[in-house]
Every structure is written in C-alpha cells, then in structure tokens.
C-alpha cells in the first residue's frame, strides 16, 4: 500500500514537470506537484513507527510559515537569490536526514548502531557529501547574487589542484567511515564537504551565476537520490533523479548560451567586473548620445521595435515602465516584441518572469532562435540592461573571450537604442563595438528613469 501511494506521488511529480511545457497547463502541473507532496507526507505519517505527530506537526508548521512568508514577500527580481537559498536548505536537510539515519539506523531498518550495512553506509556518506556541497555552494551563490559577497571570481594558485586533493581526501574519509563507522569521521566528511562546496563556487563570476544556480539545482536532486538509496525509497530516488536531470539540462542550456563547456564554467575565473583595459583601442571613437525625446521620436516613427532586456533591467526594476512604453507604442500601431537571450538575467527564464510580472503577454516574448532572423526586418532595437549578448564581436573577433557565443543580431536592425548606465563593459569585460556604430544611439541613465522619460515624451 505504501509503495503504491509513493508511486502515485512520484507520478504526480512527473506530471508537475510535464505541465510546464506550456503556460496554460503549468498551473495544473503545480497543483499535481502539491498533491504529490501531500500524499507523500501523509503516507509517511501513517507508518507504524511514526508516533510523534505533535512534534512533526509543529516542525512542519514552523518551516511552512517561514517558507510561505518568504515566498509571498520576495521581489521577483530577487528570485535567483531565493532559489539559491532554497537549494542550500535542501542540501542541509539531506545532511540531517543522513545523520539521523546514522544515529538511529533501526528506524530506517538499515542495521544497528555500529553495524550498519555496508551498502547503506556508502550511500549515506555519498548523500551527505553531495548535500553538504549543495549547502555551502548555495550559501556562497546566495551571497554573490545578493551582493553580500563580491560577484568577482576569486582565483588563486593551485586552486583546482587543491580541490582535487580535497575530493580525494573525502573519498578516503568515506572508505574509513565505511570501515569503522565512527561519528567523528562522519562529521569530518560533512565539514570537509562544506569546505569543498565553498571552494567550488568561489572562482565563478557573476555572469556565470545562471549556470551555478542550475548546477546547484541538479546537486540538490542528486543529494535526494543519495538519501533515497540509503533508505531504499523509490520515491526519493525518482524525484531526486528528476530534479538532478532537470538541473543538469538547465546547466547545459545555459553553458551553450555562452558557448562554453560546463567544465569551463566550473573551473571558473571568467566573468565578474574585470578591469576594462581591453577597451583602450576604442577610446578615441565617437559615441552618439541621445536623450529620452530622441528615443521617443525614433520609435514613434518606426513600424517595428524589438526590445532586448538584460540583467540591468532587473537591477533597475524597469520592467513596469518598460511595459508602459511598449503599450503606448502598440497603441500607435507599432509592432512591439521582446527578445530573450538564454543567459539574460541571473537564472534560467529570469527575464520571462519579470516581463510576465509587468503584464507583458508571453506571446510577445520570444527566444533567441525564434526572433533572431527578424532583426534585419526591424527598424528599432531597444536594448535595455543587456550588453554582451548583443556584442557582434562574438561573431567576428576570434580573439574575444566571448567569441562563438550565440548573440541577438541587434546590429542588423536599422537603428539601435542602447539604454546604459555608463560606457562600462559587460560582465565579460569586453568592449562592445556596437556602441560606436553610426546607427546606434546611446541613452545614458538609469533604465527605469529612462523608460519613464520616454513614456512622458511619447504621450506628450
């Protein structure tokens, strides 16, 4: 009976992910997911060995209240941090469950204290290892995304060598743990894994965060899997594998969006606010500067506008003002669409959520390969808070660090409006030759204020 209920719950989780294939079916998917979780929890509460309903109920209420409070209050721009924080909790929970299984193996029927089955010990320590890495890696990712810690990649000598050594040490500790089942070694594994989690994320820069967040998503799944094997629980194994696969695919999509291998991202050292010495050869070129009225005039006289948002839009919280601008243009009979680069923002799909928050219909928001061939037929490209993802150097300059990265072909449209705070380079530290082109007008200023000013000029 238990196995059947767990199976139903696992199936509901699969349907929850399947629902996300379309916005219309996605809400039903979420309901499937919630139902699956309720079934899983109540099935477990019905176990004969589970008696302390009050304590467990209180624990669920406390956790649930905290989770709900955070989820309801969080700004959509802060989603990446929130997801990172949540991943860290999954990792930590996995460590605690593994520890509980170690201290009371009878409750999980995996042996007795001091004589736990070898297979269970191996699975337990792997679950602990992945859980602890997920925990500390996510905490650091949270800090970098929140801005508590600098987004700069921190690189030092022999970094990868040290990480490899620590990894070997952990394997050695796991072998030792399986042999003597000592609590001291268990906690040593936890501490060393936490250290490794920090060291793995520390060299990865701000712009690579979408990959890191996806990777940690994947790890949290594998940690659940490890616990599932320890407890011989198919529901945990299935769910963990689903989540692990999901995170892995997202990491793959994100790295492809930057034309880099996952290994290259993990090794790190790329991204972050590097010095702008690479831009020296462009210092004498002329930049055409404009203001909100110019931008309003150019767009009003166009037939079609494609808006290219990036992380800068999120930082400035400009999505609502931007949508207002789009609405006015649409009323004038101008075709307005949005082009989203796979790595725009700080997590997969971040821009889509922000635009949806501002009530932009999702039919108007298109992915790179859906819209890229339309740029030559477009009169105005309005780039707001994006930079590297529009840089033509990715196609022409083989020496550029972003060479080969798929970009949005904004340079093919008749004119380009570039909303930017300053002439600073993007996260790759590469100068954008687009700024110096004749058909480019730079609009310097805060993204939100610029959009509001354009709205004013348009309605005047």
């Amino acid at each position: 009976m238990v196995a059947i209920l767990y199976l139903i719950s696992a199936l509901l989780f699969i349907f929850a992910l399947r629902g996300l294939s379309h916005p219309e079916s996605s809400r039903m998917g979420n309901i499937f997911g919630i139902t699956g979780m309720i079934i899983a929890v109540f099935t477990t509460l019905m176990f004969k060995s589970v008696l302390s309903y009050y304590e467990i109920g209180a624990a669920i209420l406390i956790g649930g209240a905290i989770g709900s409070f955070i989820a309801l209050r969080i700004e959509m721009t802060a989603l990446p941090q929130l997801v990172a924080a949540f991943h860290s909790l999954v990792g930590l929970a996995a460590v605690f469950v593994a520890a509980a299984a170690f201290y009371d193996p009878v409750a999980f029927s995996i042996g007795k204290v001091g004589s736990i089955k070898t297979a269970s010990l191996v699975e337990m320590s792997i679950g602990t290892f992945i859980g602890a890495i997920t925990f500390s890696g996510s905490v650091l990712a949270f800090g970098k995304l929140q801005g508590t810690i600098s987004g700069k990649p921190i690189v030092f000598k022999f970094q990868h060598f040290i990480n490899a050594l620590i990894f070997l040490l952990i394997i050695f500790l796991i072998v030792l743990f399986v042999i003597n089942q000592s609590p001291t070694i268990f906690w040593t594994i936890v501490i060393v894994s936490i250290l490794l989690g920090f060291l793995v994320v520390i060299p990865i820069g701000g712009a690579d965060m979408p990959v890191v967040v996806s990777m940690l998503n994947s790890y949290s799944g594998w940690a659940a899997c490890g616990i599932g094997f320890t407890l011989s629980n198919n529901l945990l194994i299935i769910t963990g594998a689903l989540v692990g696969a999901s995170g892995a695919i997202l990491s793959y999509i994100m790295s492809k969006g930057m034309n880099r291998s996952i290994i290259n991202v993990v090794l790190g050292g790329f991204g972050g606010e590097q010095d702008t010495s690479a831009s020296k050869d462009n210092s004498d070129k002329i930049v055409k500067q404009g203001n909100a009225e110019d931008a309003a005039y150019i767009m009003k006289n166009a037939d079609s506008v494609i808006i290219v948002p990036g992380y800068g839009m999120a930082v400035a919280q400009a999505q609502h003002a931007l949508r207002e601008m789009g609405d006015i243009l649409k009323k004038e009979g101008i075709e307005v669409r949005y082009a989203i680069h796979p790595v725009a923002g700080r997590m997969p799909g971040h821009m889509n959520v922000l635009l949806a928050e501002a009530n932009v219909p999702y039919e108007e928001v298109l992915e790179l390969d859906e819209i890229n061939h339309d740029f030559p037929m477009t009169e105005v490209s309005f780039v707001i808070g994006a930079n590297d993802v529009t840089n033509p150097a990715a196609k022409t300059d083989e020496s550029s660090p972003i060479f080969g990265m798929p970009i949005l072909d904004v340079e093919k449209s008749q004119s380009v409006l570039f909303v930017k705070r300053s002439m600073a380079t993007g996260y790759s530290g590469v100068d954008n030759e687009l700024f110096y082109r004749d058909n480019t007008t730079m609009l310097f200023g805060d993204a939100k204020k610029m959009c509001e000013d354009i709205v004013k000029s348009l309605s005047a």
């Binding site: 696992a10 989780f13 992910l17 996300l20 294939s21 219309e24 809400r27 979420n30 997911g33 979780m37 899983a40 929890v41 477990t44 509460l45 176990f47 060995s49 467990i56 624990a59 669920i60 649930g64 989820a71 309801l72 969080i74 959509m76 989603l79 929130l82 997801v83 949540f86 991943h87 909790l89 999954v90 929970a93 605690f96 509980a100 201290y103 009371d104 409750a107 799944g221 659940a224 094997f229 407890l231 198919n234 194994i237 769910t239 594998a241 689903l242 989540v243 696969a245 999901s246 695919i249 997202l250 649409k330 075709e335 997590m347 799909g349 889509n352 949806a356 009530n359 219909p361 039919e363």
Partner: protein, 105 residues
C-alpha cells in the same frame, strides 16, 4: 542477507536510471519561458526528503536522531511551502494577460 541487500540496490539502480531518462525527456519539453518556475517546482519536490526526516522524527522520546529528523522536517517544509508558493506566484503572472492580449498575429 547480503544477497538480499544487493538485490534491493539493483532495483534502486533500475528505478534511478529509468527516472533519469524520464526526467531527460520531460525537462526538454519544458518551454524556455518557464525555466524559472521549473526551478521553483524542482526545488519544492526535491524536498520530498522530508519523508526521511519524518521517519527519523517519528519515534517517541528524544534522542539525537529525532532532533536531526525534526530539524530536517523544518528545513524541508520551508522549501516545500516556499517552493510551491513562489512557483504559484510566477505561474499566475503568466496567466492574467492572455485575455488582455490584442490579436496581432
């Protein structure tokens, strides 16, 4: 005993690989626009490890294992409620304007 436990492990491994394959196909079918909600949902469902935490917290009395279990329940609950709620918030944003959309295609 040993033969039995290795059998259990192989069954687990079978389930694991089949689930990975299902996950692979299901996740590729997710539309890129919904990748953020995907992370929200996966985050919530990975907290199904609450099942293990409940088992540890189940017995009466208080010992180390039970305290670890209860902490696990709290942590996983934060995620379950938080994950599903934030996903719900995101998904309802993808809903409301379909009606307002002007036909343009």
């Amino acid at each position: 005993m040993e033969a039995h436990s290795s059998e259990v492990f192989v069954i687990g491994l079978t389930v694991f690989f089949l689930a990975c394959i299902i996950g692979y196909y299901v996740v590729w079918s997710v539309t890129p626009a919904l990748h953020s909600p995907l992370m929200g949902v996966t985050n919530a469902i990975s907290s199904v490890i609450i099942v293990g935490a409940i088992l540890a917290a189940g017995p009466q009395g208080f010992d180390t294992s039970k305290i670890f279990g209860l902490i696990g329940v709290v942590l996983a609950s934060v995620n379950i409620f938080g994950g599903f709620l934030v996903t719900y918030r995101m998904l309802s944003m993808f809903k409301k304007k379909t009606k307002k959309t002007k036909e343009k295609e």
